[in-house]
Assembly symmetry: C2
Homo-oligomer: 371 residues x 2
């Protein structure tokens, strides 16, 4: 079964929309948040727990899986889904982002990127063709073109050169990609420059992809700068293709980005935050390790997830303070469930043409700790 | 509902026997292995996973829970079971073993033990009455008398004095214990000295307890020394009372001890081993982190647990090498499932009067990697 995107409803109030991603491993409602399973596991969770707290689509990181355990052994299992016992839908990134954010001594040429392993120092090379070959071995339903992700404040000259290279890489990625059961997405770059963002999108559309991602955001720019890029892009993006905003995943950013027409999101934030004791609640974030929760018999939040139905703040705090991994699991589960519920409510609000008031009310509670 | 033990079957071949422990939180078949939930969680596992891999009876450590989070907050939850979301049976130890093994600057008097917190250095005091008070607050179904656990090779004079003190403490423990829904067990000490072991047992029986534990073993003595103590005690122990061998939990020791009439066991070994990558298999222990498993598509063992049904050695190795807690969870689950299955087979073999051949065949495979 091939990949397809069906738009269901466009908001009458803003660029928000709902839709369905059809994948060989299930239909996914959009807007959707995808939990990150960097190293073939959503940290601290089982596949069953990741499924309960997602819409059945999670992300794997090509860079990490390429280096360890290597794509060969994953292919030998029949792909990443089989390897990690995840019979649902998967997306892999290109590895580019980690090459730029983690590795040392990068040298970018038109061929690809020469760099050093972030731990061993080993010399490595990643090209558009190599990234596609690895992602074909991993076998995710949705895969990404290798792109360069420069800092948001890179010089105009550099950004122009980089956007052109990313377009050439996108063309080579498409040419190299053979598996018909995978959808290959292009990535829009261009930092905060409107003309470069427009040129990047136009160039990708000329090549033609079943989905478009917005890259180069959530890399240290202000919220204002990020939303300005999305405001500019929203009316330019093709209506009939899914739009994936890479690296975004806090409640506030998700709601702002959905308003601006984004359909797909991923971020390590909810699970990383959880491992340090940070929990989302309707009244904003709390740190469960704080002494104020030491004697609390309340759940993390007013919430119907199994964590909030069965465990108190005092118990979860005790586990986190004692470095018991079950505590990290409980908070990770709750945070992902929180985002899943938030996006389900957002989809309903879009369907009912009351998205903006939904967002306003949620953010008022979330930011101020209550009305 | 009060505690009771019913003996079902005595082996015609050896001292092995089967029975049922009736507790206010469920009936437990014996011989039984009890996973250890030191700090109100069986490390890396959820209560559901601990239930699947146990017979519904796990152990909590009074020492750790007294110090963190404190018995007060646990009592405020309605006891340890409510605190950790474990609606099944619980046993707590007295805290004595950890005072002797973990803490610094111990001073033992007839009153109790003065010692220092193993991390903060804080001055603390544990007495028989204090241990009972904490264990009443924790609210387990089975609780233990505070005992002194001297090194196996302590001098004869010291051991004699210690056994007498432990008897005086046992009497005070029983006098202090008020909760009728808890069964208080006495602990037999005496090291490798037969007359002291016999005197210890006799003294405890004169006080009268619903169960007897064998303490002071699995503390560094040889297997021969340990089994000699059990061989000596087996015919002396009252038939109608359960016998709990403290701190024992490897497959070999479990089978040898069951042969010698022991009914209950606890040990951190299966879960601690697991967190370091050690897995029990029918052909002996393996270390899953070893490079020999890097490309293995086999399960940990020929086994019907969900880990072995769904995950390969290569995947589990990758998780352990990547320090992903889900890997520790998978191996912990498998190891406890292994012991649960082993003891279920032992009970059946006792019922069928073929325990000794069952043990011989199992150990042959386990020790030599196959017949």
């Amino acid at each position: 079964m091939a990949f397809a995107f069906t738009k269901k409803k466009s908001s009458a109030e803003c660029h928000a929309r709902t839709g369905i991603l059809k994948t060989p491993h299930g239909d996914i409602p959009t807007p959707v948040f995808m939990p990150v399973g960097t190293k073939a596991t959503v940290k601290t969770l089982s596949p069953e727990e990741a499924y309960e707290t997602s819409e059945g689509l999670i992300l794997g990181n090509t860079y990490h899986l390429w280096l360890e355990p290597g794509e060969g052994i994953i292919r030998a299992h029949g792909g990443l889904g089989r390897f990690m016992n995840w019979p649902h839908a998967l997306l892999t990134d290109s590895g580019g982002y980690q090459v730029f954010s983690l590795s040392g001594q990068r040298k970018i040429t038109d061929d690809g990127v020469h760099f050093r392993h972030h731990k061993s120092g080993e010399r490595l090379f990643l090209s558009p063709e190599k990234s596609i070959a690895i992602q074909e071995a991993l076998g995710a339903d949705i895969i990404m073109c290798l792109d360069e992700c420069p800092p948001f404040d890179a010089s105009r000259d550099y950004m122009e050169e980089s956007v052109e290279r990313t377009l050439r890489w996108a063309k080579r990625s498409k040419a190299a990609h053979e598996r018909k059961d995978q959808a290959l997405f292009g990535i829009i770059q261009g930092g905060g420059h409107r003309d470069l963002r427009a040129a990047s999108l136009e160039g990708l559309q000329a090549i033609g992809f079943p989905g478009y991602a917005v890259g180069g955001l959530s890399v240290g720019e202000t919220q204002e700068e990020m939303l300005a890029v999305l405001d500019f892009l929203a009316p330019l993006l093709p209506e009939e293709k899914p739009r994936y905003l890479m690296g975004v995943g806090t409640p506030v950013y998700l709601l702002e980005s959905i308003e601006r027409g984004m359909d797909m999101f991923d971020c390590v934030h909810p699970t990383r935050l959880a491992r340090h004791g940070g929990a989302y609640t309707k009244r904003g974030r709390i740190n469960i390790k704080s002494a104020v929760h030491a004697e609390s018999l309340d759940p993390l939040d007013e919430c119907d997830c199994f964590v909030c139905q069965n465990y108190t703040r005092a118990y979860i705090r005790h586990l986190l303070k004692s470095r018991e991994t079950f505590g990290q699991r409980l908070v990770s589960y709750h945070n992902l469930h929180f985002l899943k519920t938030l996006l389900a409510r957002a989809r309903q609000a879009i369907a009912d043409d009351r998205y903006l008031s939904f967002k306003t009310v949620f953010l008022q509670d979330y930011r101020t700790g209550g009305r």
